[in-house]
């Protein structure tokens, strides 16, 4: 969220660092390193080192346990086991995340466009509307979907009446509710980057396009969309990555058949204490995300004008 807020805040003029350090700092080449040191030490110790540690763990002898201790046996078989046992959950995670990301894009784009281009004096109020839900505990908000989608409440009741659906129609604890929950939870991460890039759009460009006899649709396809592409890319990444690793929505709004890879990692780690397999699963997830992101970024990068 903040990347986005950040970019929109600085959308005016960005001042690149001077070719030479600003006067005063000129004789202190060590200064930037000193500034970086504490934060990077923290990230190195508690982000980078754990990654290495997790990787080592993923290669431990799977027959070890906390009591007997673990041995680094370069057991690449853990990865095979992880894929063999959980490829279903793994593919499901990527699929759910993909659908949720597309849904976020479809819902988020009109909202971001409405705020940035049509918002006028309501712009700030609408932005608050996007950010405000963040301040209610997200677990509680996700649980609230249980109320909304419950079998006997107005939403499902209304749908049943309008479409004359049978008693076996449910929304809660289905794939639909899990994906709807993911979409809901990560929608702001899509809207804010989109807003930031649409807000920078020069309205004169749209006028120029209209002036050159482009229909509104062509103006959108040929001017607005390509120019907002950076926002689309960062929005999809900020939605897809956390959605693929999420397990809260599957746990609270799903059923045993909607289990995602996150649920498996969590239970392997915290309930079963099968650390080697859980670590291997984490890296399989990372690799899966990385591959999808690379394919996506490459496509978005080369075919900029769709």
């Amino acid at each position: 969220m903040s990347t986005v807020l950040a970019t929109s805040a600085g959308s005016g003029t960005a001042y690149e660092p001077p070719p030479e350090p600003v006067a005063g700092g000129r004789r202190r080449r060590w200064l930037p390193y000193a500034l970086l040191l504490p934060g990077f030490a923290w990230l190195g110790l508690f982000f980078a080192a754990p990654m290495v540690s997790l990787f080592t763990t993923s290669l431990y002898d799977p027959s070890g346990s906390e009591e007997t201790g673990y041995q680094l046996t370069w057991a690449f078989g853990n990865y095979w086991d992880a894929l063999d046992l959980y490829h279903e959950q793994f593919l499901r995670s990527l699929l759910y995340a993909f659908i949720a990301t597309v849904a976020c894009l479809i819902l988020g784009y009109p909202l971001a466009y409405a705020i940035a281009v049509k918002g006028g004096r309501w712009k700030n109020l609408m932005l608050v509307g996007v950010i405000a839900p963040f301040f209610t505990s997200f677990l509680v908000r996700t649980l609230a979907w249980k109320t909304i989608l419950s079998d006997h409440w107005i939403v499902v009741g209304g749908l049943k009446r309008v479409f004359a659906l049978g008693d076996d129609f449910h929304l809660i604890n289905t794939e639909f509710s899990v994906i709807a929950g993911l979409t809901y939870n990560f929608l702001p991460f899509m809207v804010l980057p989109l807003y930031a890039s649409l807000e920078k759009l020069d309205p004169r460009l749209l006028e120029a396009a209209n002036d050159l006899y482009a229909t509104p649709w062509r103006t959108f396809r040929q001017v607005t969309l390509p120019l907002s592409l950076p926002g689309v890319v960062s929005g999809t990444l900020m939605t897809f990555i956390p959605a693929a690793g999420d397990y809260i929505n599957a746990e609270l709004l799903g059923n045993p058949k909607t289990t995602m890879i996150g649920n498996v990692v969590q239970s392997r780690f915290l309930t079963i204490h099968d650390y080697p397999l859980a670590a291997a699963l984490s890296f399989v997830l990372m690799a899966g995300i990385l591959i999808m992101v690379l394919i996506y970024v490459r496509r978005a990068g080369t075919d900029e004008v769709v």
Binding site: G10, Y15, P50, A114, L139, A279, L285, M286
Partner: protein, 274 residues
């Protein structure tokens, strides 16, 4: 009918936008409603199937639902404050280095800052646990703070960086030209101007820390934060006070944001009228 058609053609984007906003607001509204509801039992805290049974009990007896609900809340606030303080200081220093200096490794540093934001929380949480387990560090309050600072730093850096990057470096030059030493320049010019960015970063850190479940669950040991409490209670039945607490958090934050917006608007108006 044609008028309606034309109206829709003109305003459909706004209409869709507002519908999406309503979708985003729906759970918050439901939580507010639930906070005034007396559920039949704890397994129906998140159900409104037979209408609302109005009550103020959840608000008047906000700690009453469970012996651990308010201690969990207080733990979350403590973790949030400490992590925010550390992450804001460390992240701000990094932002200064990245924006105000050119040095060997600047590009790589930017990538390193981006990585934690692009890593699924479950991987960060589990890897940190793997480290603590292999290093024999017992998990608890301290490890929660360590984890929270870790994932908040990047968000602080990008927020402060944006503010700094939008700041004219000539202002610092002007201060130095007017006899301000580097320290005086920092205190009287740079810091006040970057402050809104730092405050925004701190608020963001606090809300991220306060609301984190996934990473915390890996590194909490026996300590229970508010999200952990909600999760745990969900298995046994959630006390309805949870909705009152969530609503209160929302209302407090909303008031803060609204005050900020009003102040900005007033400042803009004052600047425009003179």
């Amino acid at each position: 009918m044609r008028r309606v058609g034309r109206f829709l053609a003109r305003y459909w984007v706004m209409a869709v936008g507002l519908a999406v906003l309503a979708y985003m607001a729906a759970p918050v509204v439901v939580v507010l409603l639930l906070s005034f509801n007396q559920p039949a039992n704890r397994s129906t805290t998140f159900l409104l199937d037979d209408g609302i049974h109005w009550t103020l009990n959840n608000w008047t007896d906000i700690c009453g639902g469970s012996e651990t609900i308010c201690p969990a809340l207080s733990t979350s606030i403590q973790v949030g404050l400490i992590s925010t303080l550390i992450a804001t200081v460390l992240g701000t220093l990094i932002a200064f280095a990245l924006v105000r200096h050119r040095f060997f490794g600047r590009g790589a540093s930017n990538v390193l800052i981006f990585l934690p934001m692009a890593t699924p929380e479950i991987v960060m949480g589990s890897s940190l646990l793997a480290l603590f387990v292999s290093a024999g560090v017992p998990t608890g309050f301290g490890t929660i703070v360590i984890a929270h600072v870790m994932f908040c730093i990047s968000f602080v850096v990008v927020t402060v960086k944006a503010r700094l990057a939008g700041m004219d470096p000539r202002l610092q030059e002007a201060a130095m030209d007017l006899y301000a030493t580097p320290f005086a320049t920092f205190r009287q010019v740079t810091l006040p101007l970057v402050m809104p960015g730092i405050v925004a970063a701190a608020l963001l850190s606090f809300s991220l820390s306060f609301d984190d479940y996934i990473i915390t669950t890996f590194n909490s040991g026996n300590v229970v934060t508010f999200p952990l409490f909600v999760w745990g209670a969900n298995q046994r039945g959630i006390p309805p006070q949870v909705n009152a607490i969530a609503s209160a958090m929302f209302l407090i934050a909303f008031v803060f944001v609204a005050i900020g917006q009003i102040r900005n608007a007033r400042r803009a108006r004052r600047a425009a009228t003179s």
